[in-house]
Symmetry: C2
Subunit: 335 residues, 2 copies
DNA sequence: TTGTACGCGTTATCAG
DNA sequence: CTGATAACGCGTACAA
């Protein structure tokens, strides 16, 4: 690999002069600058960012931690982050945790060792105490699609209560009286918020609130299928289900299919996230859309602003969800 | 951030001793080693990999270039790469190109500047001449799910000809005589291979080969819908379509729906890739499955083997595809 | 405008 | 077994 020393030798100048030329410094004559720049190009010089980072204390990369890159929800966030980072010349180190806390901590250490300039945490498992440690580490970070109870940390989220309301009210407006809720893990903020909005709406409307019709599982299709089977094979089954994400909804759809229930005739179904496949021809899932890519962009740009010194002290962005009505919801059939 | 110098001072030894302790070197007494290790832990020391990378000439990270992380096909590959890298203590820098060649080159330079240890190219746009340059750069790389004509480069692919055969023969076996093919970009190797297998099967079986029934588009649902509309609204329409990936197939499904055609009654449809959503309740797409995650793992492990000195000179892995028959294919209706 | 000298945090080499 | 010392490639005060 060619270094600035090589260029310096070839050009008959000092390495510092080459450095100045390559960094477009004003304290160098225009002609030597251009001469050196051309030479560098011709020699195929690529700056060593390890060395530069060592000096400047900044490597030019962001760390992104997500639970699962296969999940389109996080894929969209990732895309937003990556776009924003790329536009500003930064790299993105991708870390997936599978929801495993140990792995998350392991990755966090890896990223610190690599001296990334900032962290974007779209993961959910990390406990508050660890976040506290992170705050001391001086490396800027931002929470995406999650909050932290004890810690005051910058975040960008979508208003889950509002989203939960949109979904539940839509079902109630259609005339449903027997509405169940299927969430992700019960310790995940989003799960709880959507559930609490669901409860609030039911109680406002004077609809029955059954304990057995509030289920927490995990944010996967398999979990949705299992819960769906259980929920829909009871003698008294709900006429509508609000699922806390689209994957769960798809699993429930699968279970309904198995049990010979037609959607939306026998069962109305609302999901959450509007992942790309919710709009598929035969799926046509009614769902709550979140601006996921935008979340990623906002998060990345905030961290980069902090890194580059325009110090936004904090960030508390709450974006608005949007109900997307498709074909899995209808008034309840006469039964 | 605490450095080895800080630890050295605190322990009353030289920095080099600390370095030896932290690297578990044998040329240090067991007791000082342990003492220093404990001290480092207590001080919250995290090694600076920029400095380490500078002297060792290796940063401990892989660069991964994919066209689009939203596409489940590449998300799966990414997952495989990330898993393998994590297990061996490496990070992954994610780069998405949107199929834009300029962006790919830009990223390639970024990754070189960051001195990643190896490259995994799941992108398709890069031209052979550029690969040639890459070979000179001494940084090991591997092609995933693509080949290069002129250059002898390590690769891991799935046998597209075999996959194309599986799909086309399945349709022919069902009795279809009017089979169309919809590919991705015509300059993509996978597209061409699947198409050529399609042609071979048709000619072997003595089935009519219509020029208008071979269409190249792009690997997206939108493209599939457009092509589907055109193909299916002709007076003489095919009774079966082999789509070169699942997204295209889904688009075609959408178009068929719009035109009032039932699947598989009026139209049989085979996709390619078996992305997670092909198995969805109402989609149930017959498709050709590729071991995507495995490809990612094999690719990453190969590059890492090279990096770590166990020098596999080359890699030419051809994995086998698998036909997954679901509910979008059936014998042609009487017409 | 340019060159010199030093430091960033680590590892490796060579004495001791 | 341990301690100096140099080197990795670059940026930057300081001197010229």
């Amino acid at each position: 690999m060619v270094t600035i020393k090589d260029i310096a030798k070839a050009a008959g100048v000092a390495p510092s002069t080459v450095s100045r030329a390559l960094n477009d410094s004003p304290l160098i004559s225009v002609e030597t600058k251009r001469r050196i720049q051309r030479l560098a190009q011709r020699l195929g010089y690529e700056r060593n960012e390890l060395a530069r980072g060592l000096v400047k204390g900044s490597f030019g990369a962001l760390g992104l931690i997500v639970p699962d890159i296969i999940n389109p929800f996080f894929a969209e966030i990732t895309k937003g982050v990556e776009e924003a980072a790329r536009e500003r010349g930064f790299g993105v180190v991708l870390c997936t945790t599978e929801g495993d806390e140990a792995r998350e901590e392991e990755y966090l250490r890896l990223l610190q060792r690599k001296r990334v300039d900032g962290l974007i945490l779209a993961s959910v498992t990390l406990d508050d105490p660890y976040l506290q440690k992170l705050q001391h580490s001086k490396i800027p970070f931002v929470l995406v699609s999650r909050l932290s109870k004890g810690i005051e940390a910058p975040y960008v989220v979508v208003d889950d209560k509002k989203g939960g309301r949109l979904a539940t009210e839509h079902l109630a407006d259609l005339g449903h009286k027997h509405i169940a809720f299927v969430g992700g893990p019960s310790n995940v903020h989003a799960s709880r918020e959507r559930m609490s909005a669901y409860r609030a709406v039911l109680s406002e409307r004077g609809l029955p609130l059954k304990r057995e019709w509030i289920v927490f599982a995990s944010f996967t299709q398999e979990a949705g299928r299992e819960v769906g089977r259980r929920l829909l094979s009871q003698s008294e089954r709900p006429t509508a289900i609000f699922a806390a994400n689209d994957l769960i909804a798809l699993g429930i759809m699968e279970a309904a299919e198995e049990l010979g229930l037609r959607i939306p005739d026998d069962l109305s179904l609302v999901g959450y996230n509007d992942i790309a496949y919710a709009g598929l021809p035969r799926i046509q899932l009614t769902t709550v859309a979140q601006p996921m890519r935008e979340m990623g962009q906002i998060a990345a740009n905030f961290v980069l602003d902090v890194v580059e010194g325009r110090k936004h002290a904090s960030l508390a962005a709450v974006l608005a969800p949007r109900l997307v009505v498709r074909r899995t919801t209808a008034p309840p059939g006469r039964s």
